[in-house]
């Protein structure tokens, strides 16, 4: 643990959006947390991968659509969104079913790069194992 330094924070998202509020309120933590200059990653596995799908439209249910907020994360320097491949596959999804989420890399002449990184279950386990603080939603 780094008493004075930067900690690795992982936000673990395992729940679908809208049926419960956990996904939305997790995102609210991420946005506030971005101001603290920690090393932030987001993990999407199990039903959490549903949070990132395209074309969500909540007009019919009257609930707030928060999916566009994911596209704003780059502006908050949150650009490591890890999505588990096995979770996508079990749900009949591919990377193409997910929103395009990008950030501008200040170390590479502000080139636009994808924030979503599809990783295997084993890599997800490695990622979790490499954290200081894990917040589960």
């Amino acid at each position: 643990m780094m008493e004075e330094g930067v900690k690795k924070f992982l936000y673990v998202n395992r729940k679908a959006p809208y049926g419960t509020i956990y996904a939305l309120e997790a995102l609210e933590v991420v946005l506030i947390g971005a101001a603290f200059d920690q090393d932030v990653s987001l993990a999407f596995l199990d039903d959490g991968v549903f949070q990132l799908t395209r074309d969500q439209n909540t007009d019919g249910v009257g609930v707030k659509n928060f999916s566009p907020t994911f596209r704003a994360l780059g502006d908050y320097d949150v650009n490591k969104l890890y999505v588990e491949r096995e979770s996508l596959e079990e749900r009949g999804l591919t990377a193409d079913d997910l929103q395009e989420i990008v950030y501008e890399d200040e170390d590479d002449d502000w080139a636009e790069k994808p924030s979503i990184r599809i990783i295997s279950r084993a890599e997800m386990a490695d990622l979790m194992h490499d954290q200081d603080v894990i917040l589960s939603f």
Binding site: G62, V63, K64
Partner: protein
Amino acid sequence: MKFGIVVSEGPYTHEASDTAYNFVKAAIEAGHEVPRVFFYHDGVNVGTRLTVPPQDDRNIQVNWTNLAKEHGIDLVVCIAAAQRRGILDENEAKRQGKDADNIAEGFRISGLGQLIEMGIQTDRLMMFGD
């Protein structure tokens, strides 16, 4: 046809109270009757007037209050479930020695008998929960 409705989860946390609201609106528009909605478990939390949802979000309590007023729906909050969770009307607050109450307009606190009665007197009981 008469529908009885049970809402078992709190507002915003679960979609249950939204689905129930949309169902009740559609039932009334189709000419059916919804004499009562019974709020149980965390559903009692729908009946607090102290919620302040974000301005770009729906106000679940106000929606229910307005729908009930317009169509004469009896919004009943279960007293036992409400006491555990801190939902009180003026009478209950006084009786329990509490210095505040939080029940919203159009909601009333009553016993579980109202749930059974609703099951007996309606044609279909619909439960919305977790």
